[in-house]
């Protein structure tokens, strides 16, 4: 096991009386791409600011490469930040913007121009060297900000909603490039976003935050396939949510009782425990086959064509039944008002205990 690059231990913080972080611990490995994903107010930006040194936490400590940096100002930390509004120096050329950090370290002009040029090559903008920031588009400014932060070879690069100001198409494109650049330079990136698609696409390690706590963390594949909590099952991708109660427990499986009957699940839980079953939309089907378990019948309330698939929303006809969300092939004919039989394969039931 590699040694941790950053260890944030038991961080708590508050603004005035409102607690924004509650006993959060986070480990970042060298060379990893960590994404902090959460809605606004979840504390993800505060956690990043504490890591960057712009805030001193009320409690807890920040260790970078084993050194305690909790009280260290940003200038002295081996971290650099890419700000959401880019924060480029408007009066300097792109080359001087990128070389600024090296200038502060006393690197001579010719050397820092060379390194700045190299960094601009990495982000794909070498021709902008002599331009001023206001001559660049939003996406280009984003790249310059990235080059400026990379050129000083930080231990950790922090990105605060770096794609938030870009339009959707450019956002998806920059997201692919960010991932490529990160793998190329090998620096650990910590990236804050509220966009779950961005998080899934970028993260090696995805940290789902809500109300100042970490709800779930792990690879995006694991978080998506086996979310730890109900929040992460609905925030990181959608789910159909069916509440239930554990009724019988054997050594290998349990039985969960819901409004649609009992389902056997391979898991461990205490008898009588309240649990939640989640089904991802791509596993929810509207046509049963021999292996399906069914959830009563439902009326289709919306059908949205999405090119490669249709997104179908259906209201259960069972009392206090859930809203079903399914992604089905675009060729499958279904219309608003149709009655369907929602079903899925038993192995696609995800059991959540929180």
């Amino acid at each position: 096991m590699t040694e941790a690059l950053v260890e944030m231990k038991n961080i708590s913080h508050s603004f005035g009386r409102a607690g924004v972080l509650h006993d959060v611990s986070l480990t970042i490995n060298p060379g990893s791409y960590t994404v902090l994903l959460g809605p606004s107010g979840s504390g993800k930006t505060t956690l990043l600011s504490i890591l960057g040194g712009f805030l001193v936490p009320r409690k807890g400590s920040v260790l970078i490469r084993g050194h305690n940096c909790t009280m260290m100002p940003p200038a002295k930390r081996p971290t650099t930040t890419v700000f959401q509004d880019y924060a480029l120096f408007p009066h300097m050329s792109v080359g001087n913007n990128v070389g600024f950090g090296l200038r502060m370290k006393g690197v001579v002009k010719s050397e820092r121009d060379r390194l700045a040029h190299e960094a601009l090559v990495i982000v794909g903008l070498p021709e902008a060297f002599k331009k001023k920031p206001h001559q660049l588009s939003g996406g280009q400014r984003q790249r310059v900000a990235l080059a400026r932060a990379l050129v000083v070879k930080p231990a950790v690069l922090l990105l605060d909603e770096p794609l938030g100001a870009l339009d959707l198409k450019l956002r998806r494109q920059m997201q692919d490039e960010l991932k490529i650049i990160q793998k190329q330079v090998g620096t650990a990136f910590v990236h804050v976003t509220h966009d779950q698609e961005e998080a899934m696409a970028l993260a090696d390690h995805c940290v789902v935050m809500n109300q100042g706590r970490i709800e779930d963390e792990g690879t995006p594949e694991r978080v998506y396939a086996k979310p730890a909590t109900r929040f992460s099952a609905t925030f990181m991708g959608e789910s159909t949510i069916i509440p239930g109660e554990v009724t019988s427990v054997t050594s290998t499986a349990i039985s969960v009782n819901t409004v649609f009957g009992s389902f056997p699940i391979i898991a461990t839980a205490e008898e009588g425990a309240k649990v939640t079953l989640a089904i991802r939309p791509e596993h929810m089907r509207l046509i049963r086959d021999s292996r399906s378990i069914t959830f009563g019948s439902a009326e289709v309330t919306a059908v949205v064509f999405q090119g490669s698939f249709k997104r179908v929303v259906a209201a259960s006809k069972t009392l206090s039944g859930p809203t079903f969300i399914a992604k089905i092939p675009a060729t499958h004919e279904v219309a608003v008002g149709d009655t369907v039989t929602p079903c899925c394969h038993i192995e696609n039931l995800i059991m959540l205990t929180k």
């Binding site: 940003p74 200038a75 408007p90 502060m104």
Partner: protein, 260 residues
């Protein structure tokens, strides 16, 4: 209908511009009069009265006094205004909204009142009436303006830019010198120019606080006592010309800023 509308607009525009500019245009035209009375018919153009102004040692020395007071008082006002604005933007102090209101309040107070107040104080502390007293008066009137202009440019974006510089290892001194000052340069320059223009044009405070050596507006006033004549028009036009040049430079600076 649309044509009539345009005609009406054009007439209105002409009337408004005439209304605003007629006074100074008349002033400038009749300063070029070749005879001794600034009334029609126009007998010029002639530079006779400008020569008379240049040959009047009281007026030329007043001109230099005006320049000196304008430059020195403006530099002081801008420096103090910058430090105040920086302080307000950096430190969140209790009641800072009220304090900000207070610092800009004097913008709407009469120069006559400020002049009287300064006169009372200078009397009390025994500072004689001279150009230094007038310069202090000009700092008092221009400091709030410099503060307001420079402060208005210190938004969240500016603060983030300074954070970025610190994050990249810049000391406070580096931040100030390499980032804050260069970015605020247009605002600093604008407030310097505006202060100089106001000081250059200012009459009441200079009149109340100077005695022997005085500034150009005060000398013009003294000339006016003997009635309007082309010489007063000539020196007035000179003052106006300097103001206009300053105003144009200022607008160019502000226009150049736009794209950034």
């Amino acid at each position: 209908m649309r044509g009539l509308m345009k005609l009406f607009s054009a007439i209105y525009a002409l009337a408004i511009y005439g209304f605003i500019f007629l006074p100074v245009v008349v002033l400038v035209v009749f300063s070029l009069q070749s005879t001794a009375f600034p009334i029609p018919p126009f007998t010029g153009p002639s530079t006779r009265w400008y020569e008379a102004v240049m040959n009047d040692p009281r007026l030329t020395s007043a001109l230099f006094n005006s320049l000196a007071v304008a430059i020195i008082s403006s530099v002081v006002a801008v420096a103090l205004g910058f430090v105040s604005a920086w302080g307000f933007a950096r430190f969140v102090l209790p009641g800072s909204a009220v304090m900000r209101g207070l610092i800009t309040l004097p913008l709407t107070v009469s120069y006559l009142i400020i002049g009287m107040g300064l006169l009372v104080i200078f009397n009390m502390i025994g500072l004689p009436k001279n150009l230094i007293a007038a310069g202090i008066g000009h700092v008092v009137i221009n400091l709030p303006l410099c503060f307001a202009i420079i402060y208005s440019q210190m938004g969240d974006h500016q603060i983030n830019i300074e954070r970025a510089a610190r994050d990249l290892g810049a000391t406070e001194w580096n931040v100030l010198w390499l980032v804050t000052l260069p970015i605020l340069w247009p605002a600093i320059f604008a407030s310097l120019f505006l202060s100089m223009t106001f000081s250059w044009d200012e009459f009441v405070i200079s009149f109340l606080l100077t005695r022997f050596d005085t500034t150009l507006p005060v000398e013009i006033w003294n000339l006016l006592r003997s009635g309007l004549n082309p010489k007063t028009n000539a020196v007035g036009s000179l003052v106006f010309a300097v103001s206009v040049v300053a105003a144009i430079v200022l607008e160019l600076i502000l226009l150049r800023r736009r794209p950034a």
